[in-house]
Symmetry: C2
Subunit: 113 residues, 2 copies
């Protein structure tokens, strides 16, 4: 493989890794919801149109495994669980900002066809 | 709904629109392959590890519908079909660059656990 091909494959791998971690319809939106102050499961569900409990549970687990959120069990009666963003998660803004801008622009582009 | 909630819902919508258009494992990678000079179906397939013909066909159609690539039929014998990026598609670099950087960093973060 040429130097250029190796670089290209590395670029593909890095972008696919990013898509694996934050891709799909819900992950960044869940992060934004927690960033917006929604710490508890039901608050997060209520803040995101059309998300289901099953999907949110699965995505929260995925985000936790990828060190983007942390889950705290508060030993009260009843037990409370709170989700917060990790320090590391704030790096997502490098992506969320451009994505928001691009999405808004794309809708104008497509509707202006 | 408060002003803040409206803004939040708009942000969610814009990011979900972006994910719909360029999300998933293959779309940006296909764009990069065409950007790298692969114009014909078989060249694109060969350049992207593990992609299948069926998936590439579906994703090319999606990218064309979203004005990111154009498809030219060259009336020779046999007929040739070439894919090129639209001018508009270059705006993707606002996303591909940060995604590449974030992905590389994330792999170090996860492996350095």
């Amino acid at each position: 493989m040429t130097e250029q091909e190796i670089k290209f494959k590395e670029k593909i791998k890095a972008i696919q890794d990013t898509m694996y971690v934050i891709g799909g319809k819900w992950k960044i939106v869940i992060i934004l919801s927690i960033y917006n102050g929604n710490k508890r499961f039901n608050d997060i569900v209520a803040s995101i149109p059309k998300i289901t409990n099953r999907v949110l549970s699965k995505e929260l687990k995925h985000l936790e495994e990828n060190l983007l959120i942390s889950r705290k069990v508060i030993d009260e009666y009843p037990v409370r669980i709170e989700y917060t963003l990790t320090e590391y998660c704030l790096s997502i803004d490098e992506l969320a900002g451009p994505m928001e801008k691009w999405g808004k622009n794309h809708m104008k582009k497509i509707s202006g066809k």
